[in-house]
Amino acid sequence: MRRSRAVTTLLIAGTALTLAGCGEDTEQVKIYGTSEACSAEMTAADCAAAEAEAREAHVATAPRFDSLAACEEDFGAEGCEPVPQQQASSGGSFFMPAFAGFMLGRMMGGGGGYHGRPVYVDRNGYMYSGADRFGQTRRENVFRNGRPTNWAGSANVARSTVTSPARPAGEVSPARRSGGFGATGARSGYSFGG
């Protein structure tokens, strides 16, 4: 007999296949520099709660740099701040990108209602949540005199971006970018195999 005998394993594989075939969800999120900008569109209570949640996640999960210079190389002259004393490890990671604003959406975190995640902007205007780059904005609209301003925007972000605030808190380079593979097979809907 040449045929497969692996009945059970095949059905398990089929289950995994269904999950893999679901694709990645995206959510339209709103991005605000401040609660004031947010409250023009949302309720003040939702804005304040989302910003507070984002600031808490910021301190816990922002990428760390061991010198101001290393951080500013990526995030610009006004784009960095010291890690609060109680959060800094004795090993010497002392700087992190400044909190430039927060994103607000429904799919982030547990429970219903709106949740917030911190947003960083590098010196080229690319926006990050954790280590994931999700969009670009004019940096001069974000920082005025080193302070985040009342800017606002929106973006489609992958669910994995907004549900995983706790990126590795190691050094993250904005030089990391996606999209360098896949252009040849940009025919939608058809298999790329042979």
């Binding site: 045929r3 999950l19 954790g130 994931d132 992958a158 790329f192 195999g193």
Partner: protein
């Protein structure tokens, strides 16, 4: 071999979606999985197919030895900057490095049941119809012909192939990637499930979601995890021509990235057919093939294939006129659903051979090679003479010898 028609199982589509996760059986509303018929074989016929496939694979390995020894990798469409890395990968494989061993491939054979099965091509890096062969037609057989047999040890052989790499991977995770379409992500997910079953750590990521970090020259998944080993169902020869082709080669050469299939699978472009023919022109079932149409005579029917063509993309069947050039009114092309991608990398020319006739068209035998052994078969039917992305998958069975 012959073809039997019958009604499909009632409610087959819903059941295969729910029970097997087979969600791409009818893309765009056209039939891909077709169980209104099946092909039957005798065990003697299966033996002949298996032996022919084993021999073609062995010949392809010798042809790659020849291409590397003669420094002729550019003839296979491999870009200049990748030639040294591909040759290194080949040498490591020939020295027994388990991470450079081949995982899988599919030989497309033309056979009518008479004479020797003929080799159309070797889809050695990103073959399609894996899940349909390993799981869907097996499920069909179990339900409809439980006493018959099927040339299909694909699932177990793949588990064994991944398990054999376990020690060399030493717990490092393998990322599986594919183009972001349902069929490819589902097939990559199936391969991932197999590797998981074999005890390896795995993760699935769409090709467009891979990130590259200029500062450490490494590739990352969307969770920020570095990619140390990558199994790509997205064609590597395309990756080599895209923005990060050079960093990809760099990372493999520096040992920062293990690539599956190994980089040497680039040798098995359609151009390998020309090297195989140079080596053994009298090999049974091996069609005349070369890099120049001048190999053929006026009146010959010739198939022109782009070296990196996929799913029939760019393939043309022509008859050569008295001047040795294709006669204009003789050209047969696949009605392609999208823009042609292949062709710029060069062409190989192969003698035409008839395929097994099926109602309204033809059938091609796809024989799966795992490691160096033929283990399974799937048949594709098409109304046209060129098997393409729209060709239907039809199940098969064989009658075991009485003994």
């Amino acid at each position: 071999m012959h073809r039997v028609t019958h009604p499909p199982r009632p409610d087959w589509a819903r059941r295969m979606e729910e029970e097997l996760g087979f969600v791409f059986h009818s893309p765009d509303g056209t039939v891909y999985w077709d169980e209104t018929a099946h092909w039957t074989f005798t065990e003697d016929e299966i033996d002949r197919i298996e032996d022919a496939a084993d021999a073609f694979h062995a010949l392809a390995i010798r042809a790659a030895d020849r291409a590397v020894a003669q420094n002729r990798l550019s003839e296979l469409g491999i870009p200049g900057y990748a030639v040294a890395a591909v040759a290194d990968s080949w040498r490591r494989f020939r020295e027994g490095d388990p991470l450079e061993a081949p995982v899988y491939g599919r030989l497309d054979l033309a056979w009518t049941g008479e004479g020797a099965p003929a080799l159309l091509e070797y889809n050695a890096a990103t073959p399609t119809s894996l899940y349909e062969t390993a799981v869907v037609q097996w499920h069909w057989l179990e339900e409809t012909h439980p006493d018959a047999d099927q040339f299909n040890r694909l699932h177990e052989a793949l588990v064994e192939a991944w398990a054999a790499r376990g020690a060399a991977m030493a717990g490092r995770p393998i990322h599986f990637t594919a183009g972001d379409v349902v069929e490819d992500m589902a097939t990559a997910g199936y391969l991932q499930a197999i590797a998981t079953e074999a005890g390896l750590a795995t993760k699935l990521v769409a090709i467009g979601d891979i990130a590259f970090d200029e500062s450490d020259r490494r590739f990352y998944d969307p969770d920020g995890t570095p990619i140390e080993a990558l199994f790509s169902l997205y064609p590597v020869e395309w990756m080599l021509r895209e923005d990060w082709g050079v960093p990809l080669i760099e990372a493999v050469e520096a040992g920062r990235l293990v690539l599956f299939e190994p980089l040497w699978k680039q040798l098995f472009s359609k151009g390998i057919l020309a090297f195989m023919y140079e080596l053994e022109p009298d090999h049974p079932g091996l069609l005349k093939a070369g890099f120049a149409p001048g190999l053929f005579a006026p009146g010959d029917r010739v198939v022109a294939k782009p070296l990196a063509g996929r799913e029939g993309d760019g393939v043309e069947i022509v008859t050569l006129g008295p001047d040795g050039m294709p006669a204009a009114d003789s050209v047969v092309r696949q009605a392609s659903p999208g823009p042609r991608i292949a062709g710029d990398e060069g062409w190989v020319y192969q003698a035409f051979t008839p395929l097994a006739p099926a109602p309204g068209g033809h059938a091609v035998l796809g024989v799966w090679i795992i490691g160096d052994k033929a283990v399974a078969m799937g048949l594709r039917e098409d109304a046209g003479e060129i098997t393409g992305v729209g060709s239907r998958f039809v199940p098969h069975l064989f009658t075991p010898r009485a003994n």
